[in-house]
Symmetry: D4
Subunit: 228 residues, 8 copies
């Protein structure tokens, strides 16, 4: 696929029957479809239509992949997704499943927060052994987590602000502004834009994986000619 | 003094000669005057008029205390001031000198940042041995530092947002919003409001010190009656 | 507890069954759980499950403490909560119950306003006899009340802006901005953040109470040695 | 004059020579001209041209009335202007001089603030004896003063927000929002709009004065006919 | 009544039963109660309880006066209310009924707009014969109407911005900003604040009416003494 | 030229010598260059270099056309420019000169305002006889003028908001929002964007003029064949 | 009709029965009525009352024209409407039907986007053969489409921002700001203001058509006299 | 270096002598120092102190690298920087030089814009042959360029909004919002944050280069063992 991203279906604001129709068309074309920002009714409608064995659900059922058994070709890219609290999980899952649909292996750490700083330091240390090519960090409220992760870890970190909380800045602006002003090196996507964060991380990871691949196969080519 | 706060002079927008006049009047009345938000011209004018031995300067000469030799009565309260970078020092000094004028002992840590997380953990550990009654944490850009300090340390922490940086949120809004949304327990003052932060911390510290004192003197009273 | 604050459960956005589960786990661990920002359905669900004798309700049932009979150890700290109108009571109660769960004695004055200025002056005068260590003042609309209280009373005052009213600034911004710009010495928390205000006031009060305690016991030690 | 307001010249952004020209034209036509928002250079230029005996200056020389000896016909309306601090005086003077040019008697109280609440109560009590027909209250920062005055005094109160201070809301928004959300009965003009506040208060006062006049003269007419 | 305004009940956010209770208490005390911002359920509840002969309804039943037959003493003040479209009527009615409860005679013109400029000119001309002491002009969307009325008519005009429309500025900000920036002399209240606009206009009108009265009675006194 | 707009040079932020260089290059290419948003220094520099007979200045010298004697081919399109006050003239001139450079005839009315409503009605009536194909209406402060013109006149009206005034909405937002919310049919350009307004109006006028031309010449062709 | 625009009914916020009443009155007067921003209930109510043969529906049934068989007189003006995605269609249809009611022929392209740049280039090329007199381009999210169309095509382009998406700028502000800042020549209407965009485009197109007509008929007149 | 980014000196707001001191210290430590956001005075001061052969200047001299002859070790990463106009070059250069200091090869295209769409398509096609690992696209005003580039090219694209223009959204907000709402896959940094954009792109490119290296050297190791 040209720009390295499959099309996803944004369920928000669509009739359940429209979602079914679009989903079927895309499954017919490619074997799989990613659907994001589902509400309860839309999710049950999918469940009724396709049955649970044809659907991979994100935690809380706000993101889904419907498929006909077709699986994803693995690229070798690795994307990690980190989030701090229960409120951030929906959006983190959207990012994770998007990267997965792009062929990346995904690693998730969903229960670290700045409040438990020592535990966070441990988790990040462990993460290094997974050797992610890119890390998405979802954070609501004051959005500190990506700043801390990027200062600890030498890999591209994408800040994903989440619209949790109440009061001033609670629609995710506090988190977004905070990430844009970060003293660490971060790039950022829009509030709740799990899809964009996942797709961008996937692009990086697949670029890195291609670099690994390319040399490998080149080598194989070289070796063949040299060894023969 | 009734509300536990001396009057300060806000230099911003005043003619140098007006500042001199107000300063002299207050020195005459109380022996000392705190002047905040001085620009270069106003500062030299003070220097020329009073000479350096009658002025205590904050770092960068934006805050000053002019006095006639009268010193401050110590209350026993202890206030710590923490800031991350050079850009935050002006405002941190304003807070520190305000608390000092209220009779508090002040402790300053001006060179820790979230980027150097391990060093920050050390500094905060050391700070505990100073037993501050209240801590002011000045932070610009994304304003993370107060959140981290409050999560590590069991004392009232006052967030003081600073108007540094550029781009969206650079007039201190990113820092302010971030502190208001913090997952740690913080209270906050307005952007660059070093005076308010220092005065509020001073109020807390003096309340705590009075509690220590009061029992001590009560005890002395009790002891006297018992021992006599 | 390390940072002087028990964990609270933020009910908003959670399923009733999830709240029950979290609540039971925490009661099992500590004997008590504080639950904030409950809606009607969540509140009835609690009532049905635990029965009224195991729940302490805040006025209007938006805050609750569920317990197994375990009571709170008193620290000796005293926190006062002031609010102006009926619209501010929910948030004021959240602050009050949070301070209470931290072991503080709480005093409430819920019916004073700037409109009835003379009555307000009386109430604040009376409050002095309760000797609060910290005062939380909740105010919506134009948020004047904390400014007036802080100018009258020599104790740390925490402004708690409330999202009442309509028109420009009605989501609590008018009150928040007004408190941040106050000519009196105030610190502030986010709009409707009763939990943070209560926890911060509790931290101050418990610090003060510890200062009283500490000298008392020291004294007792001293006295013992002297008297013997 | 049809809408009860003379034209004023807004100096801001005009060349000194243009101001002179417009001023002379209007003096020729009506004998007097009100000039607002003058900077230093513009003010000296006026001084040089007309000499001090032909100019009535507002405090700080930001507002001026230039005249050829023609005086204002008194309407009998009374407008009071209240402000809290030195920073508000420029704008308060603009309001006062505008009302004066409309023929009103003006009363000014420029040094009361919410901080000195008891003194404020006294001043407002005294003001009642001046029997103002309308009151303009200028206030910067958190803009509390008009709320308090309106709650104490049974006369139309116009809130005039002033752009003083620093931090969030410091361009006068905090004061403006606060006045718009006020629990007391206030109407409001734009930030720093002393001219509009004075003109509006003048309109009220002149309407009231006309009511007094009208009956008086009617009476005189009646009396004449009856007595003759 | 001291500040010339009866208390009103803000129905928004209150339980119907609470509204009934408050209403009854105030009717008992003063014979009448003004209730604003009623929704459908609250309105039917009032209807059921008091019956239609005890309620004066504003158009669209969002404002109500409930009474026990007690009527309002007329002050002689006259308040006019102008609005442009159906969307502004609710708020205009709130203003009108507030002024009426203060004893003013009220005049309403609810169907003029800037689009029909010539008709508007006619209506304003006619209005002059009603001799209003103050005029409230409600306007949504771009909020032009008060500017035009104030430029045509020599009486205090209060702009009342209304939250109609969609797109940028549609919550009434466009109308509010426009009125605050107006080239005509206007004072302004908050968006949808019909109560404040009506109360402020009522204060002006009653001040003017008192001026008329006062001279009349003085005259009567004078005449008596002279004629006897 | 393909999109019906010559390139203009935006002087703001450019060195005078850079402007000269770009200007000369474009004069060489096309004989003329339009330069916008000039400050004083940039303007004198142009004057010195080219002399006054080679420059057509806009009023106040903020817009200029420099040429080598080459004149503009007239399209037959007619654009009218209306503004209310002196503060709006710079921006109005930028619009007018842009349309002129596109070959349009331009008509200007620079001294009408909503305050003088009757005079405005006259001017608009007169304007009809000029038969403009499009009208640009520049307005600052509350931005009422385009709404009124569009309601009176049956031609495409483009609102051009201007950044005049002070207080809330004074950077042109009040005028912009007001035009976007207008009850009349308007389209709008950005604040102070005289160039865009003039270019858009020029596009309309030239499209209309082309329609006139096209039929004329077609007719001529037809007539020739018929008459011969 | 004087200003070239029929009145439309804004359904939003109106009771279904009120809409019926207004609609019938206008059909009686002019034979047709345009109704915009209908919700589902309002739409079914129309369907029930008038039956489908008397209603022309916009796609998705949010806009409707109800008529009594009366048709529109064609003016010869041509308006094109372009939009990128399904989310923009409601608003695009509102614009299209408004222009159609003004007698314009309308052309619609509803499925081009910047993502498919090459296809977009083709569609715009094809559009040139329809010779539209004005083009409305509806775009949500980042609002790029009008900028691209205007840079490709030499005709007046009106940007119509749409309130789709989520996160910062999602209520249409991103699209609106982007269009106002566009480097291409665009004029803009408010967010979701399909009616205004269609009416403005219709005004342009009808002005152009009149220019074509006028010369034609003049010619006919001329020819008649010459040929006879 | 741990996080893959050298420290840079932010010149803005620093005294020239302070910059010299910091610069010398860092050159002593590492041989080179990157200095960003220099104004004219600061730049001349650098020139005087170090002479031109020790400084690599960015275009317009707002960014500089001072060195002692030490050169950068090349990583093999490739970063491309694209911008549309002269106004964006300062910020683009800051990004480019930051990536270069991280050891990346940099490619720049500084004169493409959406206005010249066909030329842009060509340039992007050519860019593919440079095989960049990451692309930074700087764009002011409406910020369209990154959206278009990302839709054409299958590589991680980082949007860098620039604060050019005037009117609403001119401080870079229009560009920032537009990039955050983009329909293409983009990540974004703060307005004018060339340093962050360059550092983030450098991190990606170096990660990709390491993947190439790593396999190469592994291969070399493998080959050695196999071939020997
Ligand atoms: N009303 C509240 N406002 C702010 N924070 C709260 C509130 N109630 C609970 N919390 C904190 O929010 C966190 C609970 O988040 P959660 O895991 O989503 O229940 C805990 O750290 C609580 O201490
Ligand atoms: N300080 C002021 N604030 C608002 N309007 C003013 C002020 N001073 C004068 N004006 C009005 O602004 C207009 C002057 O505009 P100008 O023609 O630019 O001098 C007149 O209508 C004045 O009545
Ligand atoms: N006053 C103006 N407002 C908006 N755009 C302008 C203005 N003057 C010139 N332009 C356009 O801005 C671009 C000039 O940019 P520059 O290369 O920086 O001179 C050209 O496309 C001009 O047509
Ligand atoms: N243009 C820039 N934008 C953002 N951060 C920068 C920039 N230049 C340097 N920095 C970072 O800002 C910090 C420098 O802050 P300071 O100590 O004030 O010089 C360092 O962490 C730099 O890496
Ligand atoms: Mg977080
Ligand atoms: Mg910081
Ligand atoms: Mg209040
Ligand atoms: Mg004040
Ligand atoms: Mg209106
Ligand atoms: Mg105007
Ligand atoms: Mg779009
Ligand atoms: Mg651009």
């Amino acid at each position: 696929h040209r720009t390295g991203i499959m099309e996803a279906v944004l369920a928000e604001g669509k009739m359940p029957e429209d979602i079914l129709e679009i989903a079927k068309a895309q499954i017919e074309a490619t074997g799989r479809v990613l659907i994001t920002r589902l509400n309860k009714d839309q999710a049950s409608c999918l469940e009724n239509e396709f049955g649970s064995e044809r659907i991979d659900w994100g935690i809380h059922h706000r993101t889904a992949v419907v498929h006909d058994g077709t699986s994803i070709g693995k690229t070798g890219g690795v994307v990690a997704i980190i989030s701090a609290g229960t409120a951030d999980i929906n959006v983190a899952e959207e990012a994770r499943m998007t990267a997965a649909e792009m062929g990346c292996e995904t690693v998730k750490i969903y229960d670290v927060g700045v409040a438990g700083l020592h535990r966070l330091l441990n988790e990040v240390k462990n993460l290094e052994s997974d050797r992610p090519d890119a890390v998405v960090v979802a954070a609501g409220r004051e959005g500190t987590l990506p700043t801390v992760v990027s200062s600890l870890f030498d890999v591209p970190v994408i800040g994903l602000p989440v619209s949790t909380g109440y009061g001033i800045g609670a629609k995710g602006e506090a988190a977004l502004y905070s990430m844009l002003q970060s003293c660490s090196v971060l790039s950022v996507v829009n509030i709740d834009a799990g899809f964009v964060a996942g797709a961008f991380a996937g692009r990086i990871a697949n670029t890195v994986a291609a670099a690994r691949e390319q040399t490998n196969s080149t080598v194989t080519e070289n070796q063949k000619s040299q060894l023969s």
